[in-house]
Point group: C2
Chain length 778, copies 2
């Protein structure tokens, strides 16, 4: 081997040694004394199988970084290979910079090795705690989308992304290969996918592992890549092949970028980016056989290749021999990498474990947020004008995109226009993935509106974009955002952990705009009607999530700005796209949204209420006010208070939500003994879950989505779920105990109008004009 490959091999051996040591050793980390049972961890936890392959890739990438001075981050798709990622960060010295107690030094390396997958220590996967990682290695499938999100608007960045062949079976990963077509070689950085075929999942062979090279070559050529194959198990030859493949890949990336940036390439043409297929044995360099059964190169190498070490002296000796096979004496000195090893690590921020892009908050530039005023809706009196909240938001987002051309992107499944955010197309286009034709609308090779019919990709790209220090918004059909529910989980978990790590700088929040929501999916029917994402989000706790239900355009703008300013959270905004009554002036909206919830005096009586009419969501607010208007007209002596909730989590008391409304404030608003008729956008259970500790909770009567949907009219959706004005009036009458003649007459009126509604809808397919055209009487 050439000198540089000898160095690479030394690094590889050191990382492999440390990977195995982390899994096995409680003490004696460098085998400076003969290995004894009491040096072994009591519980052997971790994934060896993928680790040597990750180490191999990492070592070779370091060679390329040094040779080419590359700005690169590393994404470990097989994130179970935590031992590998940790080993490399430790070798590079980053680990000790972040966690001095577990850095270089005799005592420190002991702690480093012991803490792995140990109580009070570090997870066995790449995780927020891992320097250099923007990718949690638990739930598989998101590596390649994170890689692309990191590369967008990062023209100098290289993202090396190792994808396991198990992970490659996952839907989100399978959807990710075409991401390469969304890369603009001029404005974006480069992603180098390295498909690591080690052939096995935990128990069975992988699908790709049993495909031959010709099939894989065809597949990836079809996807638009130029695949390079590195296959084998003999280290010296593999080193040569891998070095050559990486040289070819980085030459090719440089050529593609040069052509795109000096204007010699056709922008609409998708370049053929390189991709590496690395086929190497699972558990490479580990035990070949254990107790007679083959281990290296089989599924048995997945986790602990050599079990029972503490109790079986033969296995203990085999472990010692295995560890010694890496020749640790050559590699380490005084609990630190030997000088020769240190000399070949990239330096400073060129170390992948120390690249600031992998700690995106350090690079975060706050958005240049334009004034809301030009987008705001003039509301001379509550209900006096009609407007589309989303359209107002679109007008503001256009200015956000104009002012932040390399720091903000909009993601969504092809609904930017139908969701009424199309004003953004004044300043940028949809990202084109191929030829742009005359009839295409708002399509551009350098577009920054990322439309793809995959909620997974929208979410994953955005996560990668945020975690490398930028800002964005994902707009989705409310019902279908569930597709990314599990990704939300993992991101919320990431934020909860990273928020507790002082060295991780805060990142911009992940913002969802859920629109085309349950109450306005009347035409698309039952399959499109589902507000349950709010329940799912709320379960992750107010430390990391907020849910906003702005009742109108000016509130939506306030909320959107607050979300774009916030950090380390997931914010969910639910807002409709249709023309609706507007309630609050810009000033009133600002005050209301800052409070998060409050009584609307203009719709409430001045005396203590007999009934509280609460609402959260645009349609519930409208129906509540229509109910209030009916009650006012027919039953003027019933004292009402209208409470509108924008910040849903504010209903949850401290300490569960430190920013929640305290009990005194809650009791003042909702009373301690009066019925509360609560019209809610989502499933009623969520309001109960958030308020069950409140004093007046037993008086909460929540009307929300009761899973009664179909293809029908807007008003009929409300009626079917008893969220409409008439049902709300009937509930207010019943719960306030009013059964005098005036109340009876109003109840009869409501029942009559419900019947008339029913007949009219069935006959004409449209809503009663009195409902459809209802306006707040003021």
């Amino acid at each position: 081997m050439s000198d540089d490959l000898t160095q690479v091999d030394a690094w590889w051996r050191a990382a492999n040694y440390l990977s195995a040591a982390q899994i096995y050793l409680l003490d004696n980390p460098l085998l400076q004394e003969p290995l004894r049972a009491d040096h072994i961890k009591p519980r052997l936890l971790g994934h060896w199988g993928t680790s040597p392959g990750l180490n191999f890739v990492y070592a070779h990438l370091n060679r390329a970084i040094r040779a080419r001075d590359l700005d690169m981050i590393f994404i470990a798709g097989p994130g179970h290979g935590g031992p590998a990622v940790l080993a490399n960060a430790w070798l590079e010295g980053t680990y000790g910079e972040v966690y001095p107690e577990a850095g270089h030094g005799a005592e420190e390396i002991r702690r480093f090795v012991k803490q792995f997958s140990f109580p009070g220590g570090v997870p066995s996967h790449a995780a927020p705690e891992t320097p250099g990682s923007i990718h949690e290695g638990g739930e598989l499938g998101y590596s390649l989308m994170h890689a692309h999100g990191a590369a967008f608007d990062n023209p100098d960045l290289h993202v090396a992304c190792v994808i396991g062949d198990g992970e490659a079976e996952a839907g989100p990963l399978a959807a990710s290969w075409p991401s390469i077509r969304f890369v603009d070689a001029a404005r974006d950085g480069a992603v180098l996918p390295i498909l690591h075929l080690n052939g096995y999942r935990i128990a069975g062979p992988t699908v790709m592992g049993r495909m031959d090279d010709a099939a894989l070559d065809a597949l990836f050529r079809g996807h638009g890549y130029a695949p390079l194959f590195v296959c084998g198990d003999e280290p010296a030859r593999m080193h040569r092949d891998m070095a050559a493949a990486l040289d070819a890949a980085f030459d090719s990336i440089a050529a593609i970028q040069r052509a795109a940036r000096d204007g010699t390439a056709t922008p609409a043409e998708t370049p053929r980016w390189p991709l590496i297929v690395l086929r190497s044995p699972k558990g490479w360099t580990g035990p070949e056989r254990v107790d007679g059964a083959p281990v290296e190169g089989t599924h048995r190498a997945h986790q602990i290749p050599l079990p029972g070490v503490k109790d079986d002296p033969d296995h203990l000796r085999q472990l010692e021999a295995w560890l010694k096979s890496y020749r640790p004496d050559e590699l380490f000195r005084d609990g630190a990498p030997a000088e020769a090893l240190r000399a070949i690590a990239p330096e400073g921020v060129r170390r992948m474990s120390a690249n600031p892009a992998a700690n995106g908050g350090r690079l975060l530039r706050p958005l240049d947020l334009p004034a809301l005023a030009p987008a705001e809706v003039e509301v001379p009196a509550p209900g006096a004008v009609q407007a589309s909240a989303n359209k107002a938001l679109g007008a503001w987002l256009r200015e956000v995109m104009r002012a932040n051309p390399d720091n903000f992107r909009l993601f969504g499944p092809d609904e930017t226009e139908s969701n009424k955010l199309d004003a953004v197309f004044d300043v940028t286009g949809r990202k084109a993935t191929g030829e742009v034709r005359d009839d295409d609308a708002d399509l551009a090779p350098d577009g920054r509106v990322m439309e793809v019919l995959s909620e997974h990709l929208c979410q994953g790209w955005l996560e990668g974009y945020l975690l490398t220090g930028r800002h964005g918004l994902f707009n989705s059909y409310e019902a279908f955002v569930h597709i990314a529910a599990s990704m939300f989980n993992q991101h919320a978990k990431w934020l909860r952990v990273s928020g507790g790590l002082a060295w991780r700088a805060p990142v911009a929040s992940l913002n969802y705009l859920l629109t085309s929501h349950v109450w306005r999916q009347d035409h698309n029917g039952f399959s499109h009607q589902d507000p349950g994402f709010l329940d799912h989000v709320a379960s992750k706790g107010a430390e990391v999530v907020r849910i906003y239900l702005p009742p109108d355009a000016n509130c939506l703008l306030q909320v959107a700005r607050a979300c774009l300013e916030s950090r380390d959270r997931v914010n969910v905004i639910v807002s409709g796209k249709h023309e609706e009554s507007q309630w609050l002036s810009p000033e009133a909206a600002r005050a209301h949204c800052e409070a998060g919830l409050g009584a609307w005096d203009w719709a409430s009586d001045e005396v203590p209420p007999d009934v509280v009419m609460a609402c959260a969501g645009d349609v519930p607010t409208q129906e509540t006010l229509a109910a209030v208007a009916l009650l006012r007209e027919h039953l003027p002596d019933l004292a009402l208070r209208v409470v509108n909730v924008v910040d849903l989590m504010a209903l949850q008391p401290p300490p569960r939500n430190a920013d929640g409304l305290d009990d005194a404030g809650f009791d003042a608003l909702f009373t301690t003994d009066k019925p509360v008729i609560f019209a809610f956008h989502g499933y009623p259970g969520l309001i109960h879950e958030l308020t069950y500790r409140r004093r007046n909770h037993h008086n909460f009567h929540v009307h929300g989505y009761s899973e009664s949907g179909t293809t029908t009219t807007p008003a009929d959706m409300a009626v079917r779920n008893a969220l409409d004005r008439f049902h709300l009036v009937l509930a207010a009458l019943r719960r306030s105990g009013r059964d005098d003649p005036a109340a009876e007459a109003l109840a009869a009126h409501c029942r009559d109008r419900l019947e008339a509604h029913h007949d009219h809808v069935r006959a004409t397919g449209t809503d009663l004009p009195e409902i459809r055209d209802w306006r707040w009487p003021g």
Copy 2:
């Protein structure tokens, strides 16, 4: 054109006519008078763009069915094309057989056309209401997995599956292409994917629509298919090409199956199945231009190609001319298809809209369920033995699989063995996707254990398998089943609707086994810890879902049998795989599980309780009993009742859960005024949501997962979330108001043991022996 293609063309025109008519016409369905504005629907809703392509495919498949007497079902991936699927079902006469009021006849066709996307009518997508459909067309991405699920163990069935190029961007669809490698040509039916490239989503071009034929050919060859291309817009040539492509495809399928079934093929070799790429204009045969802008072949044809018809006389005339271009006078007579058209439809169950496989309940054979006894665990006294619940289940599932070799499959992401269900490998293997090697464990070309690292595929295959009349179980890591959360939603919605349709026979329930659950993911850490799927499931309502938390092996067996016997539901079972204390004998387990919940007298005092100690879930049950043992020992005068909940939804009162425990029963069990310390497997909010209407709800103090996870020991997971015995004792003391010296001493003891626990775990990485080895004192 040849005669048969002329016939195909006539069918195509008729279906296209009806598709457009459904979108536009309220009346005058066959244009027997000049079209007027009042014939037009007030709201124009529906998707024209994909419909002519679907009709084209359907017409050609009918030709092949008649020519070859094929048993075939049709899956419309672009399910927005409801007009097309409905039109063909109507033409075939099936629609009128199922819904006589909207069948053939002058009045009936008026109703048929009017009801589309009309209140009180039918959804605009393929849906449960659609004869011939097993696939909801709302949320995109699941067509090809449903198709494969339908084909497994259905050797004579052909599943034609149209995949839209929008849908093809979705993760689950992208993951589905390799499904073909899981098809056993001998035992399974055939799936014929027809990728329909019409080029556009709602607003922008699709990724695949802008890929050239060479790239697509490489891609699908890589996936293992032999693609056939049918591309163009000239009907006569397209008819010829499509007929030829289908002939080639069905010839090839027949040859593959023949070879596999007569033993001339190598079983392990994946045959190269055909796939058709159909590239045709979006909105083909519809308006070419509207108001000067191109429509046919662009994204403008996606939904309503010609808007404002009711108000714009020019558009009205253009609509009339468009509809007349199909020459309806030739195609229809007296509100029915003309004789010539009827003659070319397949007959009886050969009609894809009438194929019983698309109404799977009609084919459902109940499982042959073996006795539980051989798998049951002998439990001489509560807590007397330790066993793995999943292992017992595995032993029973082995017999289920043995007794039902073509009617039951097990699905999961490669965890069958690690989840301790590996006894099933005694009777079948993992399905191999390629070569079987010597070192492979339990891999077989005809295996019926479907392992793939995609929860989407597991879920989608199972859905297709169930909806065509078979049975199955999906076992998953609890945290990662969220990946399929949105698919669960859609399936639950399907069941809710289909359950209300008399003509749809009940199908077997979709059964989840959630294992490797939150309380035993201590080694994998925070990313693997999430019990929130239960909340998500519960929101869909007791009409269609059940959640079971069996506390031990014998209860798990009872519950599993009940789930496999149930119909039209989603059942979620949560169960651990580790060795745990066993509580109930087979007889006691049967009685307990039949009740769904109940007091455990052997652990309760005979007098009315001072405190109710409730529990749901295996780990919570163990911790509750350990707490009870501590209370007993230290505070014998505190009267306790232990209530164990297996059927979680039973906590929800009627009418929300018709099978829920009534209030009298609930009050008798949980008292009306005593504190209830409830140890729960999941997020505490769910218990509050289910019980908030109960009289004693304000006394419920729920201990569950509070999002406090990390890599640690089993006992430490419980301690971190205050679900452990010591926290439960402390809660019982606090809530019962006991502050006498004995209670204080016990509280001090608990705090001392918590501290000892903490120190021991940090020092040794293992749990205190007194916790780890605790046994119920009896």
